[in-house]
Subunit: 274 residues, 2 copies
């Protein structure tokens, strides 16, 4: 037990809660830790709650009763999410991103942990109220996004591999067609990585026709698992919607045109913003 | 400007600082934000500083003068780090991790964002005072660890790929010998991913003879870059130290024996713990 002044207690409780999103913390935990009355702890929590809501950090849910306690649900305000997405769009429009073949270089943006964490908070906000057991992505570039989302939702992350690896044990492999290139690929998931009947949130950095994500959806069938949601950082709007394999997803940015000749890239907000 | 009571201000400042490790925040930023005197802000910061140091979160450095301000340097206490590593060792010793060929299944542990973040905090503590420009890893399983470390050090992450990808632009590829299997592999890094003369912290989930990490070291030479440090989550002590290609690294756990027949795994603390 540590006796702390209210001011120090507030700092410590704030830190404690931020490190444990989507985790129920009993009031008695704090009361015992600080040797304080539950009423004092409740007052502390209402101060923290007000600041978190005011700042667009999240909602501090209070559950009453014997099994009660407090739980931080990260909910990034739409205003914060919009500012983030606008900045992302602007960065994506930088002309020197165009690579041969009309591909876009995004690794510098995906390489910023703070950017990934912010995007993860948005996905955690979007899917906060769905029943989800695990976040899934396929290697490689969606991985930081999946972990950032998993951290905010307090969920494990499962990685689908392009090849079967010796360090994964027995695995289920499927073939899938990459929609935009019409080429055949393989993806594989370790048997023990995903319990049967899991509800899965799929996250990826980029989606064109959606073949890769559709591959993951098909893979889930092999595990009797279901899709609880799909979130992509950037979708490519360059594709005919009839050609799109997947229709139910949330995107933060939409790449509408890449013109290699005139070096012009056009990006608009993703479907999360309406 | 928001007028807040000290209690609310403490919650907000705590949150603000935790989200920005290794970032200098001028006192005037807080003073302007809250319309408070610098002396009040200094008092707030000394409360936060005391709690962070007491809790083993980190050091709140105060830099005096016109360009002064406050900077959070995450420093996880050795006590916390030890508790984390002991729990990691214990989990690694679970007999059902043994895969055919004596490999160890670790994906469930690597799939826990909170575990990765904790390990990242330890690496950020170990390398806090070195001059580093970027954190590097090779796909796939070291990626969450590299991002967790990068987030705590406020540094970007650079990913070395196994194959050359169209979305990476022009790249430098090298061949390297995986020390334990004596087999030849390729790794590749995008030209624009790493500026010349960068000082690089290499992070990976597992090291046996060190061939993969030595490959990254060799790749850095092509970029006139230098190694600022090497951190691995688990090293395999099953190898003769004469066969080890790399000697200067920090590990958190050391896998000393995997016996497939008797289903026994032995893990001890890594070299970080002396």
């Amino acid at each position: 037990m540590k006796k702390l002044k209210r001011s120090a207690r507030l700092v410590e409780m704030t830190q404690f809660l931020l490190a444990r999103p989507h985790t129920l913390v009993p009031l008695t935990y704090f009361a015992d830790r600080y040797g304080a009355a539950k009423s004092s702890i409740s007052e502390d929590l209402s101060i923290i709650k007000e600041v978190f809501e005011e700042d667009g950090t999240g909602e501090l849910q209070t559950l009453a009763g014997a099994a009660g306690g407090v739980k931080l649900i990260p909910r990034l305000s739409k205003e914060h999410a919009l500012a983030f997405a606008q900045s992302l769009c602007k960065q994506l429009e930088q002309p020197d991103r165009i690579l041969p073949g009309g591909y876009l270089y995004m690794s510098d943006l995906l390489g910023q942990p703070a950017t990934m964490n912010e995007a993860g908070k948005i996905f955690a906000t979007v899917f906060a109220d769905r029943a989800i057991d695990v976040v899934m992505t396929v290697e490689t570039k969606g991985i930081p996004l999946a972990y950032a989302t998993g951290a905010q939702l307090n969920l494990p992350v499962v990685l689908v591999r392009r090849d079967h690896q010796v360090t994964e044990g027995s695995a289920v492999s499927i073939n899938y067609v990459s929609g935009s290139q019409k080429s055949l690929h393989t993806m594989s998931l370790s048997r023990r990585a995903l319990p049967e009947k899991s509800r899965v949130l799929i996250v990826d950095d980029f989606m064109k026709a959606g073949g890769t994500i559709q591959g993951m959806v098909d893979l889930l069938i092999e595990f009797n698992a279901t899709v609880a949601g799909v979130g992509v950082l950037v979708e490519s709007g360059e594709i005919d919607t009839n050609e799109r394999l997947l229709h139910d997803y949330v995107s933060l940015a939409n790449l509408t045109a890449v013109d290699s000749k005139s070096k012009q890239i056009k990006v608009k907000l993703g479907n999360y913003f309406g």
